[in-house]
């Protein structure tokens, strides 16, 4: 009896060790793939890095014919469209998540919650085509002229040329709005889950002290879940920054930087999608790979910043 038990324990220990090694191997594999990815990108981009140096990040000139490449317009378009998307998606997602958890009837919350998750399952090419055929003409006809008129009628504001030029619907603004729609379901469903994890006891005690719904939301729910909320935003951000197909369809793919949101722009991902297939010159190809490297580094930097910031938030909130 004791012998057989010992034998079993030994077998279980071996299995345990094996499982641990397997799990560790999987984790290391991810790191190895990331590292290999980075090294490969640097190696393929070497030609362009050597040829252009820092100028690559400082110029907007993208001329395949003269073989002169500058990434600034692509970087600008990537960041600007992401900022627009997050500026729209974050408050909306917060409102949706709060509505679903705090205010809506459970039956309504369930249906609406499922509908939002369904939105997340739509492939990005569908968003792109819908953007091109339906949403861009709508923006050009109804939204952008009104925005431009309102903005340019306000003194001082109209000195900032944010809404100048012909509203065509194919521009930075439209791509930002489409991106917002795409990341909205991700952010709001994670936020909803975060709110659902707030223990009912904590909320009830706040209500018991006579707090209103708004007070409970602001002082208890949001505070309790801030870690998860910021995490949800970064999840959306990560998705928005690398989105390719939907953006390519509506951003206008123009390697220029303009102050107006109504002008076409380009993003790193859409430039890659557009130009990779026909880039035959080694320097052209290398420059495109370097663009990919830049996107890789931006995404990486965002993750690092997110973690550092979350640590600070956690400290100041005293939750961790």
């Amino acid at each position: 009896m004791t012998r057989s038990l010992r034998g079993r324990t030994g077998g279980a220990q071996r299995a345990d060790a094996l499982f641990r090694a397997l799990a560790a191997g999987c984790a290391v594999l991810i790191l190895a793939v990331m590292a290999a990815f980075f090294v490969r990108l640097v190696l393929s981009a070497e030609l362009s890095i050597r040829h252009f140096g820092w100028k690559f990040f400082a110029t907007t000139n993208w001329d395949p014919n003269a073989l002169e490449f500058g990434a600034l317009s692509s970087i600008y378009g990537t960041l600007a469209s992401t900022v627009i998307a997050m500026a729209i998606a974050t408050p909306l997602s917060l409102a949706i998540a709060l509505f679903l958890t705090e205010m809506a009837h459970p039956a309504v919350a369930k249906v609406a919650g499922n509908a939002i998750e369904l939105l997340a399952a739509i492939p990005s090419i569908i968003f792109g085509m819908w953007g091109l055929f339906v949403f861009a003409p709508f923006m050009a006809a109804h939204v952008e002229p009104v925005l431009a008129k309102t903005w340019n009628a306000v003194p001082l504001l109209n000195l900032i040329p944010l809404f100048r030029g012909t509203p065509r619907g194919i521009d930075l603004l439209t791509s930002g709005v489409i991106l917002a729609l795409m990341v909205l379901p991700f952010i709001s469903s994670v936020m909803r889950d975060v709110f659902l994890m707030v223990p009912a006891v904590v909320k009830e005690s706040a209500y018991g002290m006579g707090a209103t719904t708004w007070e409970v939301t602001r002082r208890v729910t949001v505070r309790y879940g801030v870690y998860g909320l910021v995490g949800a935003c970064f999840l959306g951000l990560g998705r928005a920054i690398g989105e390719t197909m939907a953006v390519t369809f509506v951003i206008g793919n123009s390697h220029r930087i303009s102050a107006s949101l109504l002008d076409p722009a380009t993003s790193i991902a859409s430039t890659l999608a557009n130009e990779f297939a026909e880039a035959s010159d080694p320097l052209y190809l290398s420059s495109l790979v370097q663009l990919g490297l830049v996107l890789f580094l931006i995404a990486f930097a965002l993750q690092v910043v997110a973690h550092l910031w979350l640590k600070r938030v956690a400290k100041s909130m005293g939750t961790l």
């Binding site: 206008g252 123009s254 076409p264 557009n274 026909e278």
Partner: protein, 349 residues
Amino acid sequence: MLKRLGVAAAGAAALCLCGAAAAQGKMVNGAGASFPFPIYSKWAHKYNGLTGVKVNYQSIGSGGGINAIKNKTVDFAGSDAPLTKDELDKAGLVQFPMVIGGVTLVVNVPGVQPGEMKLTPSLLADIFLGKITKWNDVNLAAANPGLKLPDLGISVVHRSDGSGTTWLFTNYLDRVSVEWHTKVGCEKSVKWPAGIGAKGNEGVAANVKTIRGAIGYVEYAYALENKMCYTQMRNRNGNFVQPTIEAFIAAAANADWKSAPGFYMVLTDQPGAQSWPITGASFILMQKERAAKDLETVQSALKFFDWCFAHGADMAKELHYVPMPENVVEIVKAYWANELTVGGAKVTP
């Protein structure tokens, strides 16, 4: 009983192996330009039904096709922009034209019907250079007496992806406008001075259709199939012509293929009263020398091309392509006989 079954199974397996080997010999792989893809795949489908030979053409873009044939991963490549004789010799390739197509200007201007607007080379260059920005510009009005042009901004739409269509279009502008030549030049993707970029012919077509005041360039078939508002162009002889199959044929007929080494021939801005000025051939690239074991594959490919030249004309016209004129086909066949070798020996279809 079991034994007999085993023998039968082995026999069947052997038969399968033979079949696979035979099918492999009758498989021709190609890749490249997307512009001729519809007609190549139609020809391949029909030819497969008639002969059992499988011609597999992947539309991955001219650049990708050229790389593939240089790396010897395909039997032939398709390219919209011809390689020069030097480039061909350096890579050990041969090149011949397979089919002809045209690039059409399409506009979205309220009140203007298909074929009504007249454009001259300099007007076209100035529009795409961003120098003419309104449809009621005096120079545009002067070229279009009788046409009521609105006070509407011009939105230029160009391809955002590298493409043979862009190469052909910029090649034309490069030839007719000194300013375009110095500022932009001719390439598969260029630094556009103005406008918005859209992916693919379908992207340009969709953008032109939805943006009021837009002008773009698409392949002829797209303009027809999407019922778009195409324009007339003034050709080299000074005549305004409509984009039609006949106008593309006229441009090709006047070309002097015989004295073009490696068939390096760009059909833009060709002389002739009826010639459409933005016409171009799509080319096939093959390796000049193949090993003896590839004899069957090379012959299959040549037989297929030969069949396309002989029997593919109607199918091409159905899809709004122009088949190669007969005199050019003769030159191509002579070129095969002179240039292609398999295992050091000449090869014919």
